[in-house]
Amino acid sequence: MSEKSPPAPAAASEEPRPSLASIVGEGARGLLVPLLAVFTAVVIGGVVIWLTGTGPAPSDVKGWPGFLVQSGLWRPLLAYLGLVQGAFGSRQALSETTVWATPYIFAGLAVALAFKGGLFNIGAEGQLALGALLAAWIGFALPGIIGPLPTIVHVPLALLGGALAGAFWGAIPGWLKARTGGHEVINTIMMNYLALLLSSYLLNGPWKDPNPSNVVAQTPPIAPSARLTPIFEGYRLHWGFILALLVAFAVYWLLWRTTLGFEIRTVGSNPKAARYAGIAVERMIVLTMALSGLLAGLAGANEVVGLNYGHTLSFNIGYGFDAITIALLGKTNPFGVVLAAILFGALRNGASRMQFLTQVPIDIISVIQALILLFVAADAIVRFLYRIRARGTKLVLTRGWGG
């Protein structure tokens, strides 16, 4: 897009309500660069596996062409075969991939929504921790205060409480930005520390499981009425995954089908033009950060309610940061985020089987994730490698101080 682009509101008002199909379509066209980024990362990761591997070929490669075995090329091939088997190769594997993907979807949506509003929310980690914390408290302590609750009330209450805690935590840096111009990148990072230290205090102190045999910083298990059950017996896939998909659709609806979403995107594309058009930019910044925090809080609450049935210090370390890569890989498109989250879930989940088969360092997954981030963020590399011309709107990652 040229520098002299028309103001965003005008551009957007030409097409005020793009259909779902067009959003999906835009996403599909936008898939090319992310797919090539993933592909390139996987190829380079394969070279790393090939060159660093040690140890003899296992019996799994019996019957493979000789040159593959002799050259050591069996190693990356078997590693990726294991990765795919471990992520998708059985019902159990599929179920585990969704277990990994669920928090990634919520947290990825959180970061993506903030990007759409022109804000860089590095605070998903802290918002997620706080969401988990409050959801756990509602799960284990609330029945003791107000009496037993039916599941139909208790589960939504825990999720809502966690979501609101995240929203509150996200709104603070939003408010600081709107009122003082303090940059959200700095403030969300600081809020992360506050959230983690607060968790540490509560989980070691007042909210710690009083069971005498417990030596870990964790809450008591949440009441059975506050638990989301697995969808199928014997698998950990739980209703939280379905909820994540519904929320992704809700985020799409909010951003492209409501006035509020239009205002968020307008502020994100060009705050000056948004102000000129009569949008309360400050209010939008606070609201965007609160919504972003809400989604991140839901990620944490959902892990407590659907998977862990309690909250332990040091659970969920890093989801909020992986979410940044996921949002970028998904091009901040809600459906793109779902795909990227499933990919990351698959990488994390399949890693065990990959290591089981080939004994390559499990850190190779982190290497691949980092390469994906590199190629997605610096997409000029991918465009240059594959000779793709840039098209479409450019993503505004973040603005300067007080912007």
């Binding site: 790393v48 660093t52 862990n308 065990s352 004994q359 360092p361 290497v367």
Partner: protein, 398 residues
């Protein structure tokens, strides 16, 4: 497309330093692995782990025939199908962490060498994968699965019930029967646990014997953790056994939360320095990084330091010149012993007490008089045959 080869090559060139780093790491790991875990006074403890192996139990034969069907099927195809298969699942961490994960993996590697076992590991990256990682091995019909660390206790218990034919070894997983675990001890689940008070006792004997000032100290994590309590109290008892009038200061960092008590080197350092100021000339650091802070203080002030859990001369180079020994849990022989017992049929479920001992004196070997070395040997023997008791209760009386 041909032109785009150059950037690809460039990208490869950029990757090379990364590879070098990875390769270096791997080599380092192997080097550390191959280093013999020398034992000064350690000897096998009276446990299932060290059951006499010269007399093969009659059950061994029965076990061979009871092997799972797939193995039998493979046996016709390949002669080496009878190979013992041992898998290890780490806690969140790596097999070269210079700590429990590595020690346990070395025990498994010894099984590879001595028992020609087929061995593999999986490194856990997130607690939610514990069970899945264990089941990678279980579903592949492994014979023995080693899980490292207290945190894997629950997942190990669940899988031990699910796969009754597979032997499970839970390092540092105390097997206690309660409402949630009514069927403990399971016949196929051995918890490898340690009597830290005996290791602490040996450290106390050493400290009291080499002290000239008559004052020694210990800087520990919280005494709410039974293992830490046993180390600290064992140290006290050991020191008093040599010199009844010795001044032993044992300080537990019980005033902070669990996330802080083992990761507070500043507090450990300050506390250690305060003890040295009051005349302490040997410091025992027992409590992760907190204890390391005290060892560092000892090194800076030129007094003796005694490490904990593993041979800290190797893992804490900055305190090396002061490290006279470490009170060790000998996980490597403990794990190996249990794997071996699964072969000769002497494997027994429930708690298996692993060997403890003192690490080598390394650079300070010449500072330990021969009579002290002899005394340590004697005490170690006494602790093992039960003629010497530490009289330390398993947990702090409340």
């Amino acid at each position: 497309m041909r032109k785009s080869l150059y950037p690809m090559l460039l990208a490869l060139a950029l990757i090379v330093p990364l590879l070098a780093a990875c390769g270096g790491g791997a080599t380092g790991g192997t080097a550390a692995t191959s280093a013999p875990v020398a034992q000064a006074t350690a000897a096998p403890a009276p446990t299932a782990a060290s059951a006499p192996t010269t007399a093969p139990a009659p059950t061994a034969a029965a076990e061979a025939t009871a092997a799972p069907a797939p193995t039998t099927a493979e046996a016709t195809a390949a002669p080496e199908a009878k190979t013992l298969k041992v898998g290890l699942v780490t806690d969140v961490g790596k097999v070269d962490d210079k700590s429990f994960n590595q020690s346990a993996w070395e025990g498994v590697q010894q099984a590879q060498k001595d028992l020609s076992a087929d061995v593999k590991f999986i490194e856990t990256t997130d607690p939610k994968d514990y069970q899945k990682n264990i089941e990678q091995f279980a579903d592949a019909n492994y014979d023995v699965i080693v899980t490292v660390g207290f945190a894997l206790g629950e997942a190990t218990y669940q899988d031990a019930k699910k796969y009754p034919k597979i032997k499970f070894i839970g390092v540092d997983q105390f097997q206690a029967k309660d409402d949630k675990h009514p069927d403990i001890p399971l016949a196929n689940l051995a918890g490898l646990v340690f009597e830290e008070d005996k290791a602490g006792y040996l450290a106390g004997v050493l400290a009291a014997s080499v002290s000239k000032s008559g004052t020694i100290g210990a800087v520990c994590g919280t005494d709410v953790v039974p293992a830490v309590w046993r180390y600290g109290e064992g140290y006290k008892a050991g020191a008093k056994s040599v010199k009844p009038d010795i001044n032993v200061q044992v300080v537990y960092h019980s005033d902070v939360g669990f996330d802080k008590t083992f990761t507070d080197p500043e507090w450990g350092n300050t506390t250690g320095l305060a003890m040295i100021d009051k005349g302490a000339d040997v410091l025992f650091g027992c409590g992760g990084k907190t204890g390391n802070g005290a060892l560092q203080a000892a090194a800076n002030k030129g007094v003796y330091a005694i490490g904990v859990d593993t041979d800290q001369y190797l893992t804490l180079p900055e305190a090396q010149k002061a490290m006279i020994s470490s009170a060790e849990k000998l996980i490597t022989p403990g794990v190996f012993g249990l794997i071996k017992s699964s072969q000769d049929g002497s494997f027994k479920g429930g708690n298996n007490v692993g060997p403890v001992g003192l690490a080598p004196f390394h650079d300070l070997d010449s500072k330990v008089p021969a009579d002290v070395k002899a005394k340590l040997q004697e005490v170690d023997k006494g602790l093992q045959d039960g003629s010497i008791k530490t009289n330390v209760p398993p947990t702090k009386p409340s």
